[in-house]
C-alpha cells in the first residue's frame, strides 16, 4: 500500500518529519518497508516559467529561442523542442541548478545565442517517460515557484506492508486513523455533499440474485457528465498510489478506492441492457472480455455483475469491456458494493487475476463504507466532470452490519502482557482507535466499529493496547513456571551421532530436495513391482524435476554428484540424513510413513591429501569401511550379504543386515545408472541405511569386562581358498572351529596371482588366542590351529599354505 506524507496530512495533523512518522508507524504495526521521494529531490532547484515568445534560431533551423518569464523577469532560453506554445508553463533549469542524475546547468552559447538555462522534458526530470517534448505544466502552476512545491511533488511516498487482518489500512483514511491514534490528534474526514437532481436513481433497477456472495450493492446514476483528463492534483494522487491516470471518471473511482479502501466501478449506463444490474452467479460457460482485453471463461461459482442480458463485470475483480467508460460516455452507473471475501478470493485465483479491487475484497471489507465512498465519488464527479447526480442511492443491503462488542478485562490484559498499564490508559488507547469503552465493574465492554472486523476477542484488544503502549515498553522477564531439563527427543540424538561418525570419516553432509523427478525410478532401474516406485505425486509441483516425493535418497545423491562432476569436482564424498516418504497406497488417503535414512555417496580420489604414497581412488571397500565404521560408531553389529539391487553393480553390492533385519544396501552404482546421470566414466559408490533399524539395535549402557590377566598367543595362518568361497564363510568356519579361545580374528592379506593355484586366492588371518584363567601353552595353541585346519579342509576344501 502506497500513501504519501502530504496525502495523509489532508486528514490528520502530523507533528513529526516523515522519517519519524515511518518509525512510529512501524513500531505500531503498520510496517513501513521504504520511503521514496515522489519526485527526484533535485527538482527543488528548478522553477516554473511561462513561455512569452518563441522565435526560430537565426543560425540553426532545428533550434528555437524562447523568452521565458521565471517570475522575476524574462530569460532567453534555447530549446530544440517543437511542442511549445506561447503561454505554456514549463520547468526551467536556471544556471546553477542540477538535474536528476547530477547534470549541472550553466549559461551556454548555442550558435551565437546565449541560453540562460534549459527547458526540460518529463524524462530529463525523471518524473515520466515522455522524452519527446518539453513538459508542459498545468496552467495554474505558480510562476517562478520552485517546481517541487508548485506541483505538489515535494512529497514522500511511504510503502506500507498491510497485514491481511487490516484491510481497513488499505486506504489513506485508514492509515490516517492509525496516525491519529499515535499523535492523539483528530481524524478529519472529507465533507461529503452532492447536489442531487429531481430524477430518482431508482431508474436503475438492482437485483441481487446471490445475496450470500453480495451482502450489499449500491448504485448511483450520473448523467450528462464530460469524460476528460483529470486535474493535476488528482493525477498527482494517483501517481502516489502508483496508478496511471486514465480519465476523470475512472480516476475518481480509483482515487476514492485509495482514499476509503472501498473499490468502486463505473459502468457506462447507456451500455447496460435494460438499465439494470443483476448480481448473480455466472452461467456455465459464460464468457466475458474484461477491461484488460482478455476473454475470461466463467463458472457458476463466480459472481458476476450483469445487465438484463449479459455479464458486464466479474464482481470484485474487474469490469467488462462491454460497459467500459469511454470518451463517448455521458451517463454512468457507479457501483459501490460489498462482496463476500472468500468468493472474490477464489474467483480471482481461478482467473489468475489480482487487482487492487480483489486484493481489498478478499480481505473482507466493511459493508458500511460503501455508501460514503459512493457519495464521495459522486461529489467528485459533480465537481470534476460536471455530472448531474440522480437523486438517492439504490441500496440493496438486506442485513446491515452493526458494530459489535467485545468484553475485555484490564486485569487479565495486564497479566497477559506482563505490563503495568492502567485501566484509564487502556481505555484511552482503545478510544483513540474509535472504539468506545463502557466500564462494567471490572470489565470493559468495548464497542468495535464495523471497519475493524479483525477485533473479535479480548486477545485482539490486548494487541491494540500493546502496540499503542509500545512493545518496546513491555518489560522483558524470564519465565518462572516449572523447571525443565532440555534435551532432544528420539531419533534426533541418533541422527547427530550418525553425522558425527560420518563427518569424522571425511564425508560432507548435503541436503537435497525432498521431491525428485518422476523418472528417477527408471533412471535407477527399479523393477516394475519395486515398492520404491510408489512415489507420492504433488498436485502442483514447481516443475517436473520436483514432481514426486522421494522414496530413496540415492537419486538426490547421484544428482548432487553429477552436478559436482559437471563443475569439475572429481572427489565427491557425501552423506545425507533425511526422510523418504513411503505411502501404503496411492492416491494418498492417510499420511505416509516418513522413514529416516542416511545415504552415502563416494566417488573419485579419496578425501585425503597426502604426499609420499599415491593418492588412492575410492573403491567398494572404502564405502563398506565407511558403513562398518558407522555401524561401529553406533555400537551396532552388521552383517553383509550379496544382494541384487538393480541400481547397483550385480557383483559389487551387499545388503546390510542388523539384528536379522535388512538395514539397507551398499554397492557400486550400475554403469547404466551412472550413465543416466552423466557419471559414466567414473565409478560411484552409494549406500542407504534405514535409521529406524539401526536405532532399534543400539546397545544400552556398556558393561565392563575384566582386562585379560594372562598373555595371548598369536598364530598367523595363510589359506588357499577356492574363489567361490566367500571370506565371511572362511572366517565363520575358523571362529567355529577355534572356539572360545579365539579372542580376535583379523584378515590381514588377500592375494591372487602367480603363486596361488588357479581358481583360488590366498587369505591370511592373524588369530589371537587367549584363555581367561591361564597362560596358554604352545601345545594348546597348536591344537586350536590343527582343529581350524581340519574344519576348513572338510567344510570348505580350504588348505593351509605352507
Amino acid at each position: 500500500m502506497r500513501v504519501s506524507y502530504r496525502w495523509l496530512m489532508d486528514y490528520v495533523d502530523i507533528p513529526w518529519p516523515v522519517e519519524e512518522l515511518a518509525d512510529r508507524l512501524t513500531m505500531a504495526g503498520v510496517l513501513v518497508e521504504g520511503l521514496e521521494p515522489l519526485a527526484p529531490r533535485e527538482l527543488a532547484s528548478l522553477v516554473v516559467g511561462r513561455v512569452e515568445s518563441i522565435e526560430r534560431h537565426p543560425a540553426a533551423d532545428s533550434l528555437f529561442v524562447c523568452g521565458v518569464d521565471v517570475g522575476g523577469g524574462v530569460r532567453t532560453v534555447v530549446t530544440g523542442a517543437t511542442n511549445l506554445r506561447v503561454g505554456d508553463r514549463v520547468p526551467v533549469a536556471l544556471p546553477g541548478s542540477v538535474l536528476p542524475g547530477g547534470r549541472r546547468i550553466e549559461a551556454a552559447e548555442f550558435r551565437g545565442v546565449l541560453s540562460e538555462g534549459m527547458l526540460c522534458s518529463e524524462k530529463e526530470l525523471q518524473v515520466g517517460d515522455d522524452a519527446d517534448g518539453i513538459w508542459v505544466l498545468p496552467a495554474d502552476a505558480k510562476l517562478g515557484a520552485p517546481l517541487l512545491e508548485a506541483l505538489g511533488l515535494d512529497d514522500t511516498v511511504l510503502h506500507l506492508e498491510i497485514y491481511p487482518n487490516r484491510p481497513d489500512c488499505l486506504s489513506v483514511i485508514g492509515v490516517a486513523r492509525e496516525v491519529a491514534a499515535l499523535t492523539g490528534g483528530r481524524l478529519r474526514l472529507p465533507s461529503l455533499h452532492v447536489d442531487e437532481e429531481q430524477e430518482a436513481a431508482e431508474a436503475a433497477a438492482v437485483e441481487v440474485a446471490a445475496p450470500d456472495l453480495c451482502p450489499r450493492y449500491t448504485a448511483r446514476v450520473m448523467r450528462r457528465l464530460a469524460v476528460a483528463p483529470s486535474p493535476a492534483w488528482l493525477q498527482q494522487r494517483l501517481r502516489v498510489a502508483g496508478m496511471r491516470p486514465i480519465n476523470n471518471v475512472v480516476d475518481i473511482t480509483n482515487f476514492v478506492m485509495w482514499e476509503w479502501g472501498q473499490p468502486l466501478h463505473a459502468f457506462d449506463y447507456d451500455q447496460l441492457a435494460g438499465g439494470r444490474i443483476v448480481v448473480r452467479r455466472a452461467r456455465p460457460g459464460e464468457r466475458l472480455v474484461t477491461l484488460d482485453g482478455v476473454e475470461r471463461e466463467l463458472d457458476s461459482d463466480m459472481l458476476v455483475i450483469a445487465d438484463a442480458e449479459r455479464a458486464v463485470g466479474v464482481a470484485g475483480v474487474m469490469g467488462g469491456g462491454n460497459s467500459e467508460v469511454t470518451g463517448a460516455t455521458t451517463s454512468v452507473l457507479l457501483e459501490s458494493a460489498n462482496f463476500q471475501a472468500a468468493s472474490v478470493r477464489r474467483t480471482a485465483r481461478r482467473l489468475g487475476m489480482r487487482t487492487e479491487a480483489s486484493h481489498r475484497f478478499e480481505k473482507g471489507l466493511d459493508p458500511n463504507a460503501a455508501a460514503a465512498a459512493s457519495l464521495r465519488a459522486a461529489q467528485l464527479m459533480q465537481e470534476l466532470a460536471g455530472a448531474r447526480v440522480l437523486r438517492g442511492l439504490v441500496d440493496v443491503y438486506p442485513q446491515p452490519v452493526a458494530p459489535h462488542t467485545v468484553v475485555c478485562r484490564p486485569e487479565r490484559l495486564r497479566r497477559l502482557l506482563g505490563a503495568d498499564i492502567s485501566d484509564d490508559q487502556i481505555a484511552a488507547y482503545l478510544q483513540s482507535l474509535e472504539l468506545s469503552v463502557a466500564r462494567e465493574g471490572e470489565r470493559f465492554v468495548v464497542t468495535v466499529p464495523t471497519f475493524r472486523q479483525d477485533i473479535q476477542q479480548e486477545a485482539d484488544l490486548a494487541e491494540e493496547v500493546a502496540r499503542l503502549y509500545g512493545y518496546d515498553r513491555v518489560p522483558e522477564s524470564w519465565p518462572g513456571g516449572t523447571a525443565q531439563v532440555g534435551g532432544q527427543a528420539a531419533p534426533l540424538p541418533l541422527l547427530d551421532r550418525v553425522r558425527d561418525v560420518l563427518v569424522a570419516q571425511g564425508l560432507l553432509e548435503c541436503i537435497t530436495y525432498s521431491f525428485v523427478h518422476p523418472a528417477t525410478a527408471d533412471k535407477l532401474r527399479w523393477s516394475a513391482d519395486d515398492p520404491r516406485r510408489l512415489a507420492i505425486p504433488l498436485r502442483n509441483p514447481l516443475s517436473e524435476d520436483y514432481a514426486v516425493m522421494r522414496t530413496s535418497l540415492i537419486g538426490g545423491l547421484l544428482e548432487t554428484a553429477a552436478r559436482n562432476r559437471s563443475r569439475g569436482v572429481r572427489s565427491v564424498h557425501l552423506f545425507e540424513v533425511g526422510a523418504v516418504y513411503q505411502p501404503k497406497s496411492l492416491p494418498l488417503t492417510e499420511l505416509p510413513e516418513e522413514r529416516r535414512r542416511v545415504g552415502i555417496l563416494m566417488m573419485g580420489p579419496l578425501p585425503r591429501k597426502q604426499w609420499g604414497s599415491h593418492a588412492g581412488e575410492t573403491t567398494f571397500f572404502h564405502l563398506k569401511g565407511a558403513v562398518e565404521t558407522l555401524l561401529a560408531g553406533l555400537g551396532v553389529e552388521g552383517a553383509f550379504a550379496p544382494s541384487s539391487d538393480p541400481s547397483l553393480h550385480p557383483g559389487r553390492q551387499a545388503t546390510v543386515i542388523v539384528d536379522g533385519e535388512a538395514a539397507g544396501i551398499l554397492g557400486e552404482v550400475h554403469p547404466a545408472v551412472a550413465d543416466g546421470y552423466d557419471l559414466g566414466e567414473t565409478r560411484v559408490y552409494v549406500a542407504e541405511l534405514e535409521l529406524s533399524v539401526l536405532e532399534k539395535a543400539q546397545p544400552g549402557i556398556p558393561r565392563y569386562r575384566q582386562l585379560p590377566r594372562f598373555p595371548a598367543v598369536e598364530r598367523d595362518i595363510a589359506l588357499l581358498v577356492p574363489k567361490a568361497v566367500p571370506a565371511e564363510r572362511v572366517a565363520a568356519c575358523i571362529r567355529e572351529a577355534a572356539g572360545a579361545l579365539l579372542e580376535e580374528l583379523v584378515l590381514f592379506d588377500v592375494y591372487e596371482g602367480p603363486q596361488v593355484a588357479a581358481g583360488h586366492r590366498s587369505l591370511a588371518y592373524a588369530m589371537t588366542l587367549r584363555a581367561a584363567d591361564r597362560t596358554l601353552t604352545d601345545a594348546e595353541a597348536n591344537a586350536v590351529v590343527a582343529a581350524v585346519e581340519e574344519a576348513l579342509a572338510q567344510e570348505l576344501d580350504v588348505r593351509l599354505r605352507r
Binding site: 513500531m27 472468500a342 497477559l416 502482557l417 490486548a462 512493545y471 513456571g481 532440555g486 532432544q488
Partner: protein, 337 residues
Amino acid sequence: MQERIAAVRAQAIAAVRAAQSLDELEQVRIRFTGKKGELTQLLRGMGQVPPEERPAVGRLVNEARDEVEAALAARQQELTALALEARLKAEAVDVTLPGWAPVLGRRHPLTQVLDEIKRVFVGLGFQVVEGPEIETDWYNFEALNIPPDHPARDLQDTFFITEDILLRTQTSPVQIRVMQAQQPPVRVIAPGKVFRVDADVTHSPMFHQVEGLYVDEGVTFGELKGTLSIMARELFGKRPVRFRPSYFPFTEPSAEMDIQCIICNGAGCRVCKHEGWLEILGSGMVHPQVLRNVGYDPEKVSGFAFGMGVERIAMLAYGIDDIRLFFENDIRFLRQF
C-alpha cells in the same frame, strides 16, 4: 716384563683413544682384554715370571687391565653418544612437509546453524521434537486458526498432494501435535523442513524453520520478549533487538523480532535495505482459539510461540547471498563451513 706391560698398556690406551666407532672399539677390546687379548696373554704368561716377582707383576698387569677397561668404557660412552648424535642428525625430516591427515568432513551449514539454535534452547530447558513433513490441512492451517479461504493462505503458497494432504508450509503444525500429546507445561522447539511454491535467489521451494512453543500458567508477553532476547544474544552477540507488532493468525498479540543489522550495525546498508534492522523471527502469544483447538483452557494457561527461518539466519551469519547454494551441495561450498 715391566717394560712389556707398560708398552702393551700404552698401546691399548692409544688404540682405545683412536677407535672411531663402536665396532673399532670392540676390535680394540678383543685385541687387548679379550680371551686371547694381549693383556690376557700377559696374565697367562705369569708362569714364566720368577715367583718372588709374581705379586708385583700381577699387580702391574691388573692395574694395566683396569686402566684399559676404564678407558674402553669411557670411550664406549663417548662413541655411543656420538653415534646417537649422528643417527639423530641423519634422521632429521623436513617438518614443514604436510602431515598425513585424514580430511575431516563437515556438517551442512544449515545443520550447524540448527545445532547452534538447539544448543541455546536446550540450555533454556526446551525439548527438541519433530513432526511430519507431509501434513493434513487441519494441522497445517485450520488448527492454527487459518480456515479455508483465509487470506493468510496466500502468503504461503502450498504444495498439495490431495485436497486435504499437503507438504507443510511451516513448522507450526508441530505446536498442535505437541499440545495434543501432552498437558502444560510445554516447552519445545521443533526444527524441520517446510515447503512453499516459490523459487528465486531468496526463496527455495524447500527450506527449514524452527518452531518454538512455551505454554504454562501465567505466561506473559514480557516473557516472550525475555526468552527471545536471550536467544538473540546467544546467536548474534550483544546487539539491540526490537519487537514490533505483526500478524499471524495463530498468535495474538503477534510480534516480529528484529536485530540490529549485523553488517552495518544499524547505519543502514544493502542487506538491511537501509533500515538498520534485520527481521529474524515471527512470534506471539498463542491465540486462544488455537489453545481451544487442542483442548487447553485459555482462561487457565497462556503461552508464546515463535518461528524462524534457518536459511535466513545462515545467510546472514555466513554472508551467503543465494539460497540455492544450500541445496546445490557443491563440494567447494560445503567445505567452507
